[in-house]
Amino acid sequence: MKSAVIVFPGSNCDRDAAVALHQASGKPPAMVWHGNSELPDLDLVVLPGGFSYGDYLRVGAIAALSPIMAAVIRHAERGGAVFAICNGFQMACEAGLLPGVLMNNAAGKYVCRHVAMRVEDTLSPFTAGYQSDQRISIPVAHHDGNYFADEATLDRLEGEGLVAFRYDNDNPNGSRRDIAGILSANRRVLGMMPHPERAADPDLGGTDGAAMFRSLVETLA
């Protein structure tokens, strides 16, 4: 699997994602600066967590207009996989790769802890390594993870089985319908607030996220 992690000013989970990809695939991903306008030939692009551009204006809004994002959108339009984690999820929504938007947490507080989630989709390259309805524990660390979309969009996501993960009686941010992660219509773009790269090694206190990187390698290799 050929992969790249995009590095934005303010990214802080780019190296964590690179370690998880390296462990799963046996080779390091390319690290691509956001100011580049071209991507090498790839199977997977990771938009990592962090606080790109200091969360100015709206979370992910400025990063969504970075030169590299036009290439990421072209990659997605060709059917390439995009793994958008935390701040990456916020960017993917702002860039129109996924519907909806991530708002302030309902309690107005930054939340940093493990959350209980339920796996709802097992058809995507990200989630094929899980059982349907499997309960997993993955850490979140965000101030703006409150997923919002209008009722018609939420109904469509649920109707097409595009809700990948839901918080399992453990919604940390007030997101609509307990949504923790969603897929694009072709299931090649996953956006999620929890951090699987922080739960992909026993030394990090959990391995429930490792299956995502393994199934990407198995599906996309």
Binding site: E94, F148, A149
Partner: protein, 88 residues
């Protein structure tokens, strides 16, 4: 040409910051503060001289960057040489 763009959350969209400010105002003893919604205001100086074309351009800026129309409305005000409404 001076323009102002006001971006506000749509009705029904939860505003945790506005709520916190509302509680703080009541805590200061301001009775009768029934609701606070927080928004953003942008002052933009444009080289344009035609108000209609400036407004058109500002609309594009709002749709593309200044507002996220999933959750926010925007209002454009054109003209005035930075005339403030507040007391000095």
């Amino acid at each position: 040409m001076q323009a102002r763009v006001f971006v506000t959350l749509k009705n029904g969209v939860l505003d945790p910051q506005g709520k916190a400010i509302e509680h703080a105002l009541r805590g200061l003893g301001h009775d009768g503060v029934e609701k606070v919604r927080q928004g953003k205001m942008f002052e933009i100086e444009l080289a344009d001289t035609d108000a209609a074309s400036a407004e058109q351009r500002l609309k594009v800026m709002c749709e593309r960057l200044l507002a996220n129309t999933v959750i926010e409305n925007y209002r454009i005000e054109i003209g005035g040489e930075g005339q403030g409404t507040g007391a000095s």
